[in-house]
Amino acid sequence: MADDKEREGTELVVAEYHRKIKEAFEVFDHEANNTVDVRIKAGAFLPGLSSGVSREIGTIIRSLGCCPSEGELHDLIAEVEEEEPTGYIRYEKFLPVMTEVLLERRYRPIPEDTLLRAFEVLDSSKRGFLTREELIKYMTEEGEPFSQEEMEEMLSAAVDPESNSIHYKDYIAMMVVDES
């Protein structure tokens, strides 16, 4: 009896996850017409855009609340891509993989205090801020480097124009409020 209830509970959860994933998918795939055969267009026809496949799929996955690293994202995409990469990702393949990700609660988002500590690590002299140059250096040279576009985007919101530096505690607080 308990098992049945549990299974039913999981089924409901899975059903809701399916709908959530479908919603996110549809918003990015404008050609769909409520059909299951939904494809995400890659950068195939658009010269100058970098690796179209990961662009929109990555956004979709992250918009569902997951925070994979770029490396983890590429692995995930490899799982859902066609055997012969056409630049398309089929919804039928994406759905079960994404559902598993959600059920297993993989790629959990970064807690606020971890983020704060990360900034503090980079701010070795414990000033309470990072200079523009320092942030650029770390973000574009370390880890999984930012593209120029990503760097500019982050700077536009993070830099305090008067001091030309990033007061990371305030910045984090602002971003967290914006998301809630």
Binding site: A15, E16, R19, K20, E23, A24, E26, V27, F28, H30, E31, A32, N33, N34, T35, R39, K41, F45, L46, G58, T59, I60, I61, R62, S63, C66, C67, P68, S69, E70, P109, I110, P111, T114, L115, R117, A118, F119, V121, L122, Y138, M139, E142, G143, E144, P145, F146, E150, E153, M154, S156, A157, M175, V177, D178, E179
Partner: protein
């Protein structure tokens, strides 16, 4: 590797302190990058959702036209009865024929330009200096005098009349073609375009779009803009403008290979036919051709087979020679209103209420049939300003950036040369947009979108509550997410990501269930009269755009007033056609109570303006600039 773990591993010797430090820095960088990418993606998703809201509502509004168009047909079909009761009304409704027997010279010469006029003065024949003059003047927010507007319009009409339905253009190694779309209405843009066209008639090619339509102008406020800017001569300007619209070519063909049109195609699109039709007889998408016959019963049959109109003893001003046969009218509608989709086949465009959705197979079929290689069109706002589909055969270009709201989308235009590979140029205007960080732009856009969505929800409040209650058997006031989303989608007819939007629209309890009445908690329609029934107010609010058009049509002298009789007659018809359950006397009472009867006439703009929505959280929002 876990990116969350910042704890150091092992103690190490002094030489590895540096390694430890850089390893820590590496991990820290990874944490920040990971977090940022997640945040940035969610921001972009929110932007997309907002855009989806704007788009669905815009299309749903266009769909309302279908109903309105049916209403006009319905009125025409019931012509006899209306005519018996009110011949004046009929003459006003159907007598839209232009009385332009007046010579242009005669009219324009009556419009004087006073010495005190500080705006731009155009010299005919026009040259490029006039274009510069106009652009500079408009940058200074000046208004072009009606005299010049009329001159330009008359001249534009004269030139357009000589052009075929499709302009044929050739590229050459030295000649590049730029393709763009006009975007939102504005008198100024129109004037610059027409003047440029008159200066360079062989180099600037204009195609008709779905908004080059006098009915659409009524609905979307362009008419109001003109009447407001040109109080004295606005009516005449509108008359000529409507005429100019009908003379705009249907499309352009480049190098016999690329077809440039506004909307799209259907499976029955026949370019050979379209080359031949008398395009200026296509007045409006909302006025389908109808046959007015002695015998009411045969009306519909005749219309379907595309028979021409039979005049009724001079009582109607709409003679047979003034209308397109129905099948030709439909061909033009398809060109102006259709949208490409991934799904194969051709089926009615239910979002817009006109034209169809056409799939890649239709594109191939039609392009092959007429030996074409590509279709370039506009009609849909795209986030990046352009989009390619149907295996590269269909290109959508949208040139108005920030179309719905600041930050909503980029604009783009295309450059073509003879090797045929199109190049795309994107941009986004306003310095303000470029300087503001992304999250602020997204917040603005999101608030705006949620706001209009809530207004939409409010206008269907009664229906929504009924739908909710139907599912809430236990009368708990709560529904599951699935039930709530289903009700919303079904009642509003908007295909939106309801689950993702729900945090903005309703409150949820700790079990994840929706308190459905919270849908309406922050918002209500301001009642112009306290005692008026809520359903009446809601209905009038919901149909206010349609009513606006209808009133504007009746008010053919654009005075802003219609008589109480006309109001009643119109309301009766509207009531029965839209199956609204409002008693006539209720509307009468309302009009009277609002004290809008001035000498037996109603200022309908005032009447309709009185229904507006109050957003409770508005004042709060203004201070902190964040979305609710």
């Amino acid at each position: 590797m876990s990116t969350h773990d910042l704890e150091d591993m092992g103690c190490g010797t002094s030489s590895s302190t540096k390694d430890r430090k850089s390893e820590k820095a590496l991990k820290a960088a990874l944490v920040i990058q990971n977090w940022y990418r997640g945040y940035s993606a969610r921001l972009k998703a929110r932007q997309r959702y907002a855009l989806t809201i704007f788009q669905s509502i815009e299309y749903a509004d266009e769909q309302g036209q279908l109903q309105l168009s049916n209403f006009f047909s319905f009125m025409l079909e019931n012509y006899t009865q209306i005519h018996e009761k009110d011949p004046e009304l009929v003459a006003r409704l159907f007598g839209r024929t232009l009385q332009d027997s007046k010579d242009r010279q005669e009219y324009v010469s009556f419009v004087d330009v006073p010495d005190s006029y500080n705006g731009p003065r155009l010299q005919f024949p026009l040259t490029f200096t006039d274009i510069d003059l106009l652009v500079e003047a408009f940058k200074q927010q000046q208004i072009l005098h009606a005299h010049y507007v009329l001159e330009v319009l008359f001249e534009t009409k004269r030139v357009l009349k000589q052009m075929p339905n499709f302009t044929q253009v050739k590229t050459s190694p030295t000649k590049e073609i730029t393709i763009c779309d006009r975007g939102k209405h504005s008198m100024e843009i129109l004037m610059i375009l027409f003047v440029s066209f008159l200066v360079y008639p062989n180099d600037l090619h204009l195609n008709r779009g779905n908004h080059e339509d006098f009915m659409m102008n009524l609905r979307y406020g362009f008419t109001k803009e003109i009447l407001h800017k040109y109080k004295l001569h606005g009516k005449k300007i509108l008359q000529i403008l409507e005429d100019v619209y009908t003379w705009l070519p249907i499309g352009t063909i480049i190098d016999n290979e690329i077809l440039v049109i506004h909307g799209g195609i259907s499976e029955s699109t026949d370019l050979n036919l379209l080359h031949r039709i008398e395009r200026h007889k296509m007045k409006s998408v909302l006025m389908p051709p109808i046959s007015i016959d002695e015998d009411q019963d045969t009306d519909l049959k005749k219309t379907k087979t595309g028979a021409n109109v039979v005049p009724r003893e001079g009582k109607t001003n709409e003679s047979p020679s003034e209308q397109l046969p129905k099948h030709e009218w439909e061909q033009v509608i398809d060109i102006l209103w259709s949208d490409p989709r991934g799904k194969r086949g051709c089926y009615p465009n239910t979002s817009r209420g006109g034209g169809c959705y056409f799939g890649p197979d239709i594109t191939s079929k039609i392009l092959n049939k007429f030996q074409l290689k590509m279709l370039i069109r506009s009609h849909e706002c795209k986030p990046e300003g352009y989009e390619i589909c149907h295996d590269g055969k269909v290109v959508t270009v949208f040139s108005a950036s920030n179309y719905y709201e600041e930050g909503s989308n980029r604009g783009a235009y295309i450059k073509l040369c003879c090797d045929m590979t199109p190049r795309f140029f994107q941009y986004q205007v306003t310095r303000a947009t470029c300087l503001r960080p992304l999250y602020q732009r997204v917040n603005t856009m999101e608030s705006s979108a949620i706001r209009i969505l809530k207004e939409r929800m409010l206008s269907r409040k009664t229906d929504l509550i009924r739908a909710f209650q139907l599912q809430d058997r236990s009368k708990s006031g709560k529904l599951s997410m699935g039930q709530w989303a289903f009700s919303m989608e079904n009642t509003l007819g908007l295909n939106l990501p309801w689950r993702s939007l729900s945090p903005h629209l309703v409150t949820t309890d700790k079990n994840g269930n929706i308190n459905y009445m919270s849908t309406f908690q922050d918002i209500h329609i301001q009642k112009p009269v306290k005692e008026a029934q809520s359903t009446l107010i809601e209905t009038l609010y919901r149909y206010r755009s349609d009513l606006q058009i209808i009133f504007n049509v009746i008010d053919s002298d654009h005075s802003g007033l219609i008589s109480m009789e006309e109001f009643r007659a119109m309301w009766k018809l509207f009531n029965s056609h839209y199956s609204i359950h409002i008693e006539d006397f209720q509307v009468d009472e309302l009009a009277e109570r609002m004290d809008l009867n001035k000498d037996g006439s109603i200022d309908f703009n005032e009447f309709l303006k009185a229904f507006y929505v109050v957003h409770k959280l508005e004042k709060l929002n203004k201070s902190d600039g964040q979305s609710p």
